[in-house]
């Protein structure tokens, strides 16, 4: 096995794991805007827990995509073109979600906020589902021909695995969002988030566990199966910590679950990056889909400097905003009278 392509397979697996870990909770918090939060103040509590960090988290997606393009152009080209419509859905969902975060508080009417709340909730849900479906399909396979192009029309990707992967990321993100809220808020929201976490954990982790098991059946290795077992242990620990009120530990345990689960899935898939369901000879692998060693070497050097830096300053951001947010921190929505409208409204004398 060639060294540099293998390193970059691991790097991309890490980038996706980083994405699911970080954006996982802000996608989850986004989905909870409609189901969990009960009033506008609670929604603003939710938003302010992820406000300073969600955009930085989303860059993990861009970096995972960009790194795939640079390190495995054939993987990037085949996966993204084969999943044309689901990725369009992801894009539209991410666009509305991003704009909604920024614009929601910019006009002080309930209708305006309600519209953007829906954009946040649905945008988060669909983005999580689409990303999950894409990741599941890159491990379970797509109907690709010898050139790496999709056969069978625009919906040929739609299989049970797509649904399983979609539910896996939606379920995990919801749970991770609850863990994050329990960790980052205070008062009623914190209490309820913990309750929901304990109650929903078994259901929400079921699809992602299913995906990991599918991968073990398909191509499991001894160490990846061990990782699945360890992941289950981590999930049980997370549940137990949350029940006892140890929110920090519950969050870490759930994060460990994700890292182990993701390792078991990507590890089982290795060295295939995108199987063809038409003919195993058309499989894209770390060897036949990768860039030249020169390009990979360059990227390795830059990543060795850049990635630790990213981790350091993102960690610092979480430190700066470490304080729990609660309803009492939320000020009245400020509806300003625009200076110029105020003049126009003033009685004429």
């Amino acid at each position: 096995m060639e060294l540099l392509p293998t390193i970059w397979f691991i790097a991309i697996a890490l980038l996706w794991t980083g994405y699911l870990f970080l954006e996982g909770f802000d996608l989850g918090v986004g989905m909870l805007m409609k189901t969990f939060a009960r009033n506008n103040t609670e929604r603003r509590v939710l938003l302010n827990t992820i406000g300073p960090v969600w955009d930085g988290n989303e860059v993990w997606l861009l970096t995972a995509g960009g790194a795939t393009f640079a390190a495995f152009p054939l993987w990037y080209a085949s996966l993204f073109s084969a999943l044309y419509l689901p990725l369009l859905l992801v894009l539209v969902a991410l666009i509305f979600r991003a704009v909604a975060f920024e614009y929601r508080g910019k006009v002080d009417t309930p209708q305006w906020r309600a519209r953007w709340d829906w954009a946040i909730a649905l945008g988060s849900l669909l983005a999580a589902f689409g990303v999950g479906a894409a990741l599941a399909l890159t491990t379970t396979g797509l109907p690709l021909n010898a050139n790496g192009d999709r056969e069978g029309g625009p919906f040929a990707w739609f299989t049970g695995y797509a649904v399983l992967g979609g539910l896996a990321v939606v379920g995990f993100s919801l749970l991770h969002g609850l863990a994050f809220l329990a960790l980052k808020t205070d008062g009623e929201v914190r209490h309820r988030a913990r309750q929901w976490f304990v109650r929903l954990l078994p259901v929400l982790l079921l699809p992602i566990a299913g995906w990991a098991i599918v991968m073990q059946v398909q191509a499991g290795k001894a160490w990846t199966m061990a990782a699945v077992v360890a992941a289950v242990v981590a999930a049980v620990l997370a549940w137990n910590f949350a029940r006892r009120g140890a929110e920090g530990r519950a969050f870490v345990a759930l994060g460990t679950f994700l890292v182990l689960g993701s390792a078991s899935i990507f590890g089982a898939a290795f060295p295939v990056v995108l199987p063809s369901t038409l003919n195993p000879a058309f499989n894209l692998t770390v060897t036949n889909a990768s860039s030249s060693d020169y390009t990979l070497g360059l990227m390795t050097v830059v990543a060795c400097v850049g990635l630790p830096l990213v981790l350091a300053y993102q960690a610092w951001t979480y430190w700066v905003f470490r304080r729990r947010v609660s309803a009492t921190h939320i000020p009245e929505a400020h509806s300003f009278l625009p200076a110029i409208a105020a003049k126009a409204l003033a009685p004429k004398d």
């Binding site: 960090v53 969600w54 955009d55 989303e58 704009v99 020169y294 951001t317 921190h329 200076a339």
Partner: protein
């Protein structure tokens, strides 16, 4: 329409749209960072107000650039998979580095700036903005390195029919990129300059119109007070300073775009001669720059085009720096291109139904000819207007004319138009190539790719049409929302970004910290009000 056409329209629409938001983000970011630095150094309240007001507009716009940027990265793989396969070894790296070294910096430090007004020390808070803004400049650099490789492929060898990077230094110091980066940054500053100028003009005009500011016998402004929160004497300083900063930025950036644009023209003359000829709609070799050409500029037979007004020598100056070198026209270049790259698309499955079609080496000349002139015309008009504005406001306020105010406000659009026209010119002018051949590279395996070969073979025209319609509709809707919000916050004036001004009695010193809430109630965090 077939898949290729739809994919091209989609790339054009989404990119031009994305590049409405991006120059404002880069330009306004730099300006806000400078203003906040002034506040940090002088402590003058008007600089704080300017930071908050322009910062608010910056954020309303920034998010649109972020949201539409993801589409850009995904669409190479989605709609242009053959392109991605062909260029991935060299083109993917700058994209990945852009995300790793620029987007992370930009988004993380901007988050710190938005939410960190109270949590961070003043100098750290200011540094966060500078780091975010420098991140956006780096992002411009990386994406232009990628684009410049399509204009002028360097640093590669052809191995198994694909370009493989052999010299990263050559790719990242491509001379095309080194002149395009400052050109683009000055273009971004031009947008910010016009934005400040137009909006500040409106507010100064409004203050006169509402009778707050008056003009003395010597023509000098007498700034007044009003009982409306935020429209006090300091408010006048906010707008006159914004206007002057905007005008100076607009003029400097026009000079910058002109100088770097001139360097670009000379490179283009060597690297993509057909683009230069098409910019002129010139059939025959010559030295003159056409000020106005009539006839059917876009016709296949370019002998239909007649230059009515032509300045001799100028074209040679643009291309070569003297007044006598003959610049090759379309007709003589056409034979050369046909000899070098063939007359018909090869019978290769990569071209799909397009295999065997005749190659049109001449770009759409209505677009190149007028794109080139709109870029220069809009840019120059904005700079001239900035000069006039500086003179017109020498006594501290703007003329009372409503017409001039409208002109200043609509003038905001001119630098946007110049940016869009420049990019449309340079991208359309590169056709029929998606990767233009580099005339310096010798040998049969010259590195180039026809756009006809770049589109995703596995994606149907129906899918592309769906995404074209969906994305265009979403973008149109969001443009309406963004402009409405910008207008609302602009009309609101400084208070829209500083609600604390409403609570502060007019005679209080703005330098003090805003009140922390009513007694007995926990202090409401007005920092959160600034954000979400």
């Amino acid at each position: 329409m077939e898949a290729l056409e739809i994919a091209r329209w989609q790339f054009g629409i989404t990119t031009v749209y994305h590049f409405m938001m991006v120059p404002l983000t880069i330009g306004l970011g730099l300006v806000v960072a400078v203003i906040q630095t002034l506040w940090y150094r002088t402590g003058k309240p008007e600089y704080l107000r300017m930071t908050k007001f322009w910062g608010k507009l910056f954020l309303i716009n920034f998010i649109m650039g972020v949201a539409t940027g993801i589409v850009q990265e995904f669409q190479f793989g989605m709609a242009w998979s053959e392109y991605s396969r062909f260029v991935g070894d060299v083109f993917g790296a700058p994209l990945a580095l852009e995300a790793l070294l620029a987007f992370f910096v930009e988004s993380t430090f901007l988050g710190l700036w938005i939410f960190g007004w109270k949590q961070l020390k003043r100098c750290v808070h200011l540094a966060c903005l500078w780091i975010a803004v420098i991140g956006s400049v780096f992002s411009a650099y990386f994406i232009i390195v990628a684009n410049s490789w399509m204009q002028h492929p360097v640093g590669v060898e052809m191995i198994n029919g694909r370009p493989v990077m052999t010299d990263a230094w050559a790719v990242f110091t491509n001379n095309t990129a080194l002149v395009a980066v400052p050109h683009t940054l000055f273009g971004a500053l031009a947008v910010a300059g016009g934005f400040l100028l137009g909006i500040a003009w409106y507010h100064l005009w409004r203050r006169r119109h509402d009778g707050i500011d008056t003009v003395g016998a010597d023509g000098k402004v007498i700034p007044g007070e009003s009982d409306i929160p935020g429209r006090d004497r300091a408010d006048h300083a906010v707008w006159i300073r914004s206007l002057r900063i905007g005008a100076v930025v607009a003029m400097i950036s026009f000079a910058g775009t002109a100088i770097t644009g001139d360097l670009q023209g000379k490179l283009m003359f060597q690297q993509q001669p057909m683009k230069m000829a098409a910019a002129e709609a010139a059939c025959h070799d010559g030295t003159g720059f056409s000020v106005l050409s009539i006839g059917n500029v876009g016709s296949k037979n370019c002998d239909d085009v007649v230059a009515v007004i032509e300045v001799p020598g100028i074209l040679s100056f643009l291309a070569k720096g003297d007044f006598t070198t003959e610049v090759k026209g379309v007709n003589s270049l056409l034979d050369q291109y046909k000899a070098d790259y063939g007359t018909h698309l090869p019978n290769n499955p990569i071209y799909g139904d397009r295999a065997g079609q005749e190659i049109q080496y001449v770009p759409v000349m209505e677009v190149t000819y007028w794109g080139f002139r709109m870029m220069i015309g809009f840019g120059g008009a904005a700079a001239l207007a900035a000069l006039v504005a500086l003179w017109a406001t020498r006594k501290g306020t703007v003329p009372a004319s409503r017409g001039l105010m409208r002109l200043a406000v609509f003038g905001i659009l001119a630098p946007f138009g110049a940016n869009a026209a420049g990019w449309i010119f340079t991208e359309m002018g590169r056709q029929p190539f998606v990767v233009a051949p580099n005339p310096d590279l010798n040998g049969i395996d010259q590195v180039f790719m026809f756009t006809a070969a770049a589109v995703s073979p596995g994606v149907s025209a129906g899918e592309l049409l769906t995404s074209l319609i969906v994305l265009t509709a979403v973008y149109a809707l969001l443009l309406v929302v963004e402009v409405k919000l910008l207008v609302k916050y602009i009309r609101g004036g400084v208070v829209s970004a500083m609600p604390e001004l409403v609570h502060v009695p007019a005679d209080d010193n703005e330098d003090q910290n805003p009140p922390g809430g009513t007694p007995g109630k926990p202090a409401a965090d007005d920092v959160l009000a600034f954000a979400y």
